[in-house]
């Protein structure tokens, strides 16, 4: 709940309208009269007052007070203008065909678009030629590398194969030797005794016949 002063100050700040303020302040004649007075002054304040302003020499006032500083600090005022100017020049050069080139120690500003195009096409052609040469060279190198690698691979494979064959032969010979050894052993253990028994002619047999 606002009191009358708050209502009046809200009207002063423009938060409520004249009608709202008048309605709320009507019961209190003191505040209502203040409101009416304030309203009249405000109305007067809102009316424009066009008074011709007397001519006062503010220039001499200024020169007397601050003018002497100008020569000493004036040069500083050129810096922003110079900066803006240089920026504008850079912008123009970058968006236009103008070219700023350093040729034999001197800056040259050129405007030749055709010359640029010719230069560009020449550079492109030389670049293309260079690229072709480079590709051919790379191709030859890679072919050479490939053939040498193939030879190395063939040598490696054949050597490996020889090694494998040799080891197989050694194993076979070893196996055969082992077999022969085993056969010999078997012959010694079994066949030779049996043959010896077969070849044996007993001497006591005739005596048994004599009986």
């Amino acid at each position: 709940m606002l009191n009358n002063q708050q209502i009046f100050e809200a009207w002063l700040e423009g938060s409520i309208s004249d009608e709202q303020c008048a309605r709320q302040l009507t019961p209190d004649s003191d505040w209502y009269q203040r409101f009416v007075s304030a309203q009249m002054i405000r109305r007067d304040a809102s009316a424009p007052l066009f008074e011709p302003v007397p001519d006062i020499d503010t220039s001499s006032m200024f020169r007397q007070q601050w003018g002497h500083q100008r020569p000493s600090r004036g040069w500083q005022n050129w810096w922003p203008q110079l900066s803006v100017g240089m920026s504008a020049l850079a912008l123009i050069i970058s968006i236009s065909p103008l070219q700023l080139q350093l040729q034999s120690g001197a800056l040259a500003l050129s405007w030749s678009q055709q010359q640029d195009e010719q230069q560009l096409s020449t550079m492109l052609a030389s670049f293309q030629l260079e690229q072709q040469k480079y590709l051919q060279q790379q191709l030859a190198i890679s072919q050479q590398q490939q053939s040498s690698q193939l030879i190395m691979l063939k040598d490696y494979l054949s050597e490996n194969e020889q090694k494998a064959r040799r080891s197989d032969m050694v194993e076979l010979v070893e196996y055969l030797n082992q077999q022969r050894q085993a056969d010999w052993q078997y012959w010694q253990d079994n066949v030779q005794p049996s043959q010896a028994r077969l070849n044996y002619i007993p001497t006591a047999q005739p005596s048994r016949d004599s009986h």
């Binding site: 002063l12 700040e13 009269q33 203040r34 009416v36 007075s37 304030a38 009249m40 002054i41 405000r42 109305r43 007067d44 304040a45 009316a47 007052l49 008074e51 302003v53 007397p54 006062i56 503010t58 220039s59 006032m61 200024f62 020169r63 007070q65 601050w66 003018g67 500083q69 100008r70 600090r73 004036g74 500083q76 005022n77």
Partner: protein, 187 residues
Amino acid sequence: MFKRSDDSLIRQALDGNERAWQQLVGRYQSMLYCYSLRLMGNADDARDLLQDVLLVLCRNLAQYRGDSSFKTWLFGIANYRAVDMLRKRKPMQDLADVSDQLCDDSQNQEQQLDTVQRQQDVRQQLKLLPPEQRLVVELRFYQQFTFDEIAMQLAISSNTAKSRFYAALDKLRPQLEVHDVEQSANF
């Protein structure tokens, strides 16, 4: 063209740029003169006050720190000079010359005459107020400052500014009431 801020103009003026100074003065000169005219009540004193304020402004421009708006700071100077001048001066002279100037331009039209008459009456009542109260009314209604800003400019508390303001309204009330009655009687 874009409008340069007060701060920018002050910086340039302090660098010796006279055009910036003129632009700054041109922005507030008319406002200050109307203020002076209402407070002092006559064109000669208003002119003296304006010149005085501009001179003090020029001398103290470097002291503006931007703690408040430039307008608040400027009117702080103007208030100080105005109160000083009002205290030194004889009792208030008539405001008739101001009203006469306004009347000269608009006397052919009845409605404008009525408006001018009302303005004249209000100003006649305002000039009867004590200077401190008149100053607060001027700053609150004519210059649109808040009570806090007024308090800062006059180096008083916000409550003091308000009490001066309400005292001024109470003093104006009987005068304006009489005027209203007279106007009603004419109809």
